[in-house]
């Protein structure tokens, strides 16, 4: 009886052990599935952290370059630079941004080049700001353009970050729109029509607003992983919005 009992016990223990082995095998299989899920979640989290890092670095560099531009614009105003400074600085800044910066975008030298470009563009703004400041309502126009640019940029950035919407479909539309505006701007150099200037400034504000949506969306969806290039893209949109808003408010304020 005792022997029978012990045999039964041994059998049941063996069954239990084999059951345990089966359960262990299942656990291992489940663990394999879980580890795959965990690995996938980790890689997603890693990508998310990387995107947040790009976004944070972009906004940090952007704020520093904007402050630096403000400083160079103040220096340019203090030195009372001639109007041609704007043209030379913008052409110089654009040429460096288009041809030199992409070569150094992955090296620390790229940060220096971003400051060179933004400093140059800020320095070019000096004569224009001096001209507006000399108007009876000039100080108000400059402050409104500055505040308006800040509100537009922050509002659109917050919109993209809150909705997480992908605006990559806007790329072709915005580039073609921008080219058409450049063609209109060339025509207006010869035509000198104030109404056309007004229209160009208005359309530039809308197109640059579209570029803020497009660029920010590219950063948060991993389309732009280089914060130096992301910064210069966003800086150019802010610069263009500020200039266009200044012209628009200047024309509507009766300076033309």
């Amino acid at each position: 009886m005792d022997q029978d009992y012990s045999k039964t016990n041994q059998k049941s223990r063996a069954r239990a052990q084999s059951g345990t082995e089966t359960t262990n095998a299942q656990v291992i299989e489940i663990n394999d599935g879980q580890s795959a899920t965990i690995n996938s979640a980790r890689s997603r989290a890693g990508a998310g952290i990387e995107i947040n890092k790009v976004l944070r670095n972009t906004y940090m560099l952007l704020s520093m370059t904007l402050l630096f531009s403000g400083l160079t614009a103040s220096i340019s105003m203090a030195l009372n630079m001639p109007p041609m400074t704007y043209l030379i600085s913008v052409i110089g800044g654009m040429v460096i941004a288009m041809f030199v910066l992409p070569r150094f975008a992955n090296s620390p030298a790229g940060i220096g080049i971003v400051f060179l470009v933004t400093g140059l563009l800020g320095f070019g703004l000096g004569p224009m700001l001096s001209m507006y400041a000399s108007l009876p309502n000039g100080g108000n126009i400059i402050m409104l353009a500055l505040g308006g640019t800040g509100v537009i940029f922050m509002g659109l950035s917050a919109y993209v970050l809150a909705t997480r919407k992908d605006f990559s479909f806007l790329g072709g539309f915005l580039m073609v729109g921008f080219l058409l505006v450049l063609v209109a701007a060339v025509a207006n150099i010869f035509l000198q029509m104030p109404v056309m200037s007004l229209m160009i400034s208005s359309v530039v504000i809308l197109i640059m607003s579209g570029f803020i949506l497009y660029d920010t969306s590219r950063i948060i969806h991993g389309g732009e992983t280089n914060y130096i290039l992301a910064t210069i893209g966003l800086y150019m949109t802010i610069f263009n919005i500020f200039i266009s808003l200044l012209q628009l408010l200047g024309i509507m304020g009766g300076d033309d």
Partner: protein, 59 residues
């Protein structure tokens, strides 16, 4: 017409020539947006138009 206007026109024409291939590439390769995508673009655009009109009123 002074030299600054000529230089500005030449610079703009240069930018158009440089940007044209990129614009064509982006136009051909951009994903197509649905009507809801375009609506999500139009909403902030309308908000900006209204905001700029408000700024003009404040001048």
């Amino acid at each position: 017409m002074d030299w600054m206007q000529i230089v500005a026109a030449l610079a703009l024409i240069m930018f158009i020539i440089i940007l044209f291939p990129r614009a064509r590439y982006m136009l051909e390769n951009s994903p197509k947006g649905s009507s809801s995508d375009w609506m999500s673009f139009l909403i902030p655009v309308i908000a900006i138009i209204l905001f700029v009109m408000l700024l003009i009123q404040l001048v």
